[in-house]
């Protein structure tokens, strides 16, 4: 009695996305699927969801072949998908989102009252207080994520598949999601849970299946293993969990004496953040932690010249500067690696070479493109950053998330910036790439780069930053020394009343 994946194979061009993956998910269990980006998890989910067809192999449910040729068929089979990208129709109401494509009709007309009632029932089951008529765009990220769960429930799904559902959620919101999922499990729903966040997997799942490079590694019973075992299985090697902080700490306290490289003085953008005064010194990594909605991304974007501040000033080496555009900022050596690489960083119509060289070339290159020089630079960047790609002529959509992110960081590093702003630098990035990106950032900081990194991933902030600034509802709450900070102390600042720093 289970969901069986039997020797599933899939190739895309020259890439073996899945090479004969077999494992079982027992009915009624919560089963985790983990692996680095590029391990084949997404492809496997797409096959299950009917978006992609396997080249070979079979999926069976209770012993019966169980292939879906379209997402619609998958829904009819009782598979509910909750995607990472949070698909929703922002202009439509909550209930319209839930019933999209499978509307309840009476005599050909939409039966709004029936849909509203069913929506309310499902939302109650998830203990969500949302108006079924509210437009989806008015919901928070967390609620939009739960809306997908609600949609799956409304269609009586037997197998609920979640792909990185907590990426955009705060811890409290994730807790709520887990409560809901545990309830569903008790009710007999089989859960297939895909995540990079190993601790989550341990909280929720009974068993863990690890994929690596498109192949099955092992299935573990959660109770008998620890985080390190899983990480080792995922990357095929051991990764130090925390960098030696103490020595770096000393060096940074030293360098923090003079003028800060970047500082803001009572910087305000009405409606987003108020009176932010902070400094980032050459050679240090300052962490900025805040929950979703705390105004941290807006702050970085304002420093980067995307928005005009309503009040206050930005200083570079003590001198006030005004950036009217990202181009202005980048020319002055202030660059931003934005949060959403798909929307804000990558050009999918151009190949990797162009993506890698554009900022540097557009800022400092001549009118005529130096093709040979650019190709050489791009080749070197692939090597330096260990970006796994077919070559510089590969298009960004052929890269895994981790390699895409490395490319985005690399393209900005090539401009030799003086201040690096990072917004969620390892969002949706696998453990291996995350580690490598952190190492590169640390190395550049040691060479004198001033880094300000925003992350809602607490362990990341704690291991990467020398100093942690905490924002809440648009205001700076205080500052903690990374060496002595704990997840609890940071979270306390981020969620509670002002503490004198």
């Amino acid at each position: 009695m289970s969901l069986q994946f039997d020797r599933i194979e899939k190739t895309f061009g020259a890439v073996n996305a899945l090479r004969g993956v077999s494992f079982d998910v027992a009915e009624g269990e919560a089963h985790a699927l983990v692996g680095e980006n590029g391990a084949g998890k997404s492809t496997l989910l797409k096959i299950l969801a009917g978006l992609v067809r396997a080249d070979r192999g079979e999926i069976r449910w209770r012993g019966q072949p169980f292939a879906s040729s379209s997402p619609r068929e998958a829904i009819e089979h009782g598979i509910g998908m909750v995607y990472q990208e949070m698909l929703c129709l922002p202009n439509l109401s909550v209930s319209a989102n839930i019933f999209c494509g499978r509307e309840i009709t009476r005599g050909g007309r939409l039966d709004e009252p029936a849909m509203r009632a069913r929506t309310r029932a499902v939302l109650d089951r998830l203990s969500l207080r949302i108006d079924p008529d509210a437009p989806a765009e008015s919901l928070s990220a967390a609620h939009r994520q739960l809306l997908q769960v609600a949609r799956a429930l409304a269609f009586d799904c037997r197998i609920l598949v979640l792909d990185e559902p907590t990426t955009a959620l705060t811890d409290a919101e994730a807790d709520h999601l887990f409560d809901v999922l545990r309830e569903l499990k008790k009710g007999g729903t089989t859960i297939l849970y895909v995540s990079h966040r190993i601790p989550e997997v341990f909280r929720l799942c009974d068993r863990i299946t690890v994929l690596r490079d498109g192949a099955f590694v092992d299935t573990f019973t959660t109770a008998t293993v620890n985080t390190n075992d899983i990480v080792k299985a995922m990357v095929g090697r051991e990764i130090p969990t925390r960098a030696p902080l103490a020595e770096a700490q000393g060096a940074n306290a030293e360098s923090r004496k003079g003028e800060p490289r970047l500082s803001t003085n009572r910087l305000t953008r009405a409606g987003h953040f108020r009176s932010i005064s902070l400094g980032v010194w050459s050679g240090e990594i300052a962490g900025l932690f805040g929950l979703v909605g705390s105004g941290r991304s807006e702050l970085l974007e304002t420093i980067f010249g995307l928005h005009a501040p309503t009040a206050g000033e930005i200083c570079l080496d003590g001198a006030p500067v005004t950036f009217r555009s990202p181009r202005d900022a980048a020319r002055a050596g202030v660059v931003l690696v934005p949060e959403e690489r798909h929307r804000q960083a990558l050009l999918f119509n151009l190949d990797l070479r162009h993506n890698l060289v554009i900022p540097k070339s557009a800022l400092t290159g001549g009118a005529l493109i130096d093709s040979r020089g650019e190709c050489r630079d791009a080749e070197r960047m692939l090597g330096d950053w260990r970006i796994k790609a077919a070559g510089i002529e590969a298009f960004p959509d052929s890269l895994s998330g981790g390699n895409q992110q490395k490319a985005v960081v690399a393209k900005w590093m090539a401009t030799r910036p003086r201040v690096l702003l990072l917004d969620e630098p390892t969002k949706g990035v696998d453990v291996g790439a995350k580690f490598e990106i952190h190492e590169m950032i640390r190395a550049r900081a040691r060479e004198g780069l001033a880094v300000l990194v925003v992350s809602s991933d607490l362990p990341e902030i704690l291991s990467l930053a020398d100093r942690i600034l905490v924002m809440k509802e648009g205001e700076l709450q205080g500052e903690l020394d990374a060496a002595s900070a704990t997840e609890e102390s940071v979270m306390h600042l981020a969620t509670h009343a002002v503490v004198s720093a």
């Binding site: 555009s325 990202p326 020319r331 804000q344 050009l347 119509n349 557009a362 393209k411």
Partner: protein, 321 residues
Amino acid sequence: MKQLRAMRELSTVAILIAEVVFFAWYLSPEAGRAHPFLNADNALLILKYSSIYGIAAVGAAVVIISGGIDLAPGAVIALSGVVMGQLYVADSWALMPSLAAGLLIGLASGLLTSLLVVIVKLPPFIATLGVMGITRGVAFIITEGRYYDVSGRLPPGWQPMGVPIDWLAPIVMFAMAAIFQILMTRFQWGRAVFSIGGNETAALFSGIAIGRVKASVYVISGVLASLAGIVLVLVQGQAKADLATGYELDIIASAVVGGASLAGGRGSVMGAVLGTLIFGVLRNALPQIPGATFYDRLIVGVVVIIIVVADQLLLRRSQKS
């Protein structure tokens, strides 16, 4: 990407050749008679009139690759021609200043579009729809229904810089196509146009001066349309307000048939020019088919759809492999 682009242009050339071969066969005359389609005079005729579309299509392709659209070229062609005609014929200006004034019309309408798109942030469709109405309207106001007999004032046998008048349009078109093909593929500016069309937000975040680049794209389209306008008037010898009515859609269709994607980020200037030749051949050959007189628009419409669908299927396959 380069290979893909080259392949796409080759397939446009292949369509053009196939089309010529088809009409050469279909319209082949009885023995002893001259071929009505396949002769040098007819080839020049096709080239001459396609080139008017072609010159403007170079600009249209640039705009479309940037993710925008320009509906004004037809009207700008007319207004430039009319202004030139008014100054040269009615006001007895010298030829060169009249031509320059015609080109200034394109510059002005391009700048107006840029202002509306970049500063006022109107969607390009609406902005250029407005500019189209304004330019066409001004052309009617200036002419008050008259037309200008430009050829009557041109010296007999006039050859601009030693070029026979029939060759003027094709030469201008190929020159513009060559210049912009190089600008689009070898220069930072061209890559910026591709970047903005592919992902405007990412282009902004990558330090590209998107305002300046987008403005330049509409100015180029305007100036090239007015260049097409004055060339049309010189070649045809007449300027009037309803000149080039409806050209804008044919021009856009040419760019799309030549591989440009209306979603932006994809296409080529050369492809657009080849696209206008594909239409030029159709426009020339269809009326020669007995009984097809009333079918030519329909056939042109069907051909556009077939070519674009085939292109997308090819693209999908090349992305898969």
